[in-house]
């Protein structure tokens, strides 16, 4: 693992919790870490908890969306959970509503959503 964002493995799900502000290099390292963890195989889902994220720019948002799409290519569904209201408002006002990535209110809901998706 090269980045500072811990990625935990729970069963067939990967859980990444972003607790700091995501700077560009941190975001890139996170993407690297998440993909190499998926590469090891056996994973059906990736949950990214961004409830600790206080500020975001389009680059970081794009990295997160891209990570989700890359994970989808590798057969894992991604859910972004716990986005703060001010971040959601900012992203939408900047014209980047992060289309193409699944969202949920909190970690519990995110895991539930993954469970439903993998079952079907």
């Amino acid at each position: 693992m090269t980045g500072t964002i811990p990625i935990l493995r729970i069963g067939r799900t990967l859980l990444a919790t972003v607790q700091t502000d995501l700077r560009d290099n941190v975001a890139n390292a996170f993407q690297q870490d998440a993909l190499s963890a998926l590469e090891k195989g056996g994973m059906s889902g990736l949950v990214i908890d961004i409830s600790g994220l206080e500020a975001v720019d389009t680059y970081v948002a794009r990295v997160l969306v891209d990570t989700g799409r890359m994970a989808r290519l590798m057969g894992a569904a991604t859910v972004l959970v716990g986005m703060r209201p001010e971040i959601a408002a900012t992203l939408v006002r900047m014209g980047y509503p992060m289309e193409g990535v699944d969202t949920a209110l909190n970690l519990e809901e995110g895991l539930e959503r993954l469970r439903l998706q993998t079952r079907t």
């Binding site: 959970v81 986005m83 959601a88 408002a89 509503p97 992060m98 969202t103 949920a104 209110l105 809901e109």
Partner: protein
Amino acid sequence: MLFSAGGAVDPIPPGCSIQGRHVPFRTVKRLPPAQSVRNSRDKPRGIYGRVRANLWAAGVRCGRDAGKGVSMDHRRYMKVLKLDEAEVQARRAFFELTDEDLQRLAGLRPFAEKNTDAIVEDFYRLLLSHPDTKKFFPDEATVRRVKRSQCEYFLGLFGGKCDLAYVEDRLRVGIAHERIGLSTKWYLGAYRKYLQLIGDHLFEELRDAGRARQALESIQKIVTFDIALATDTYLAAKIETIERHQAAIRELSTPVIRVYDRILLLPLVGAIDSHRANQVMDSVLLKVSEAQAKVIIIDIAGVPVVDTKVADSLVKTTAAVRLLGASTILTGITAQVARTIIHLGVDISTMHTLSRLAEGIELALSLVGKSIQATKTAARARRKRKASRR
């Protein structure tokens, strides 16, 4: 110049209730009865003064000032208007109000003391003869009280001082006038009369035209200085009132209601401009996050006009709500609105849209895994009706 006695306070009648609180009789009874507050306008002095200062600080308004809201606000406005030493100096420099002027004014004190009563009497004759200004003086007592403070104000012009304390005192005038709802036209008009009266008396008294002219110039300077302060305060107070009302409207314009566990409802009523649209988005996001709601229903039945802007803001709100992990249902779409949206070419396919609020609630319930079912008795009644029809 004062219409109403901004700084004047009458002795507090025992037992008056202020802002829902009751002033204990005891506090007031302990006061020495001989000590009157009337002559201590600026700073409360003595035992009574201390009590009064405390009451002031607690927001106490009573006696004839009750409801007028004369308060320590001038301190606050000193900050709002950024009136510090430097600003006062800058203003004085612009009005060319020099130390020499102030000295000259101080030298005119005996003249002022001699002529106050006559000037004030004449001045109020104008105010009381005009119906628009007369209504500010409902009774004789008010007139007497205001005349008293007017004399003080007048003498204050000849104090030979123009420092922060002076400025602070002048701010009260503006605040008092905003409170009683006096418009600036009467205020400025009355000042004209005031200056004229002063001029008349000056020329009569001083004989020496050159000296009188100089004296009048100094008076004009300090009077315009006062007018500027009072009108600035007046405007600041008005703006504050408007801001307070706007805040109230803002509060009322986005009432997010919790209709069921994890289901919120926002009934929008009234026109939506871009400012309000932003508010709607912010408050919706905040409430969704607070309540960890799964669904928010936005009912637009009460919005008279849905144009591209409104539609766009709704689409944006939906996108933002999705980012939080919740969904939006838009209800109350009338035929007219549907027609407009399609004609305008707005793509709202990302949203759940329904015509009636009831359907919206049903959909919302289904999204949280609940449903509305008819009770057994209702089902039985329906079966009976069918059977009887056959």
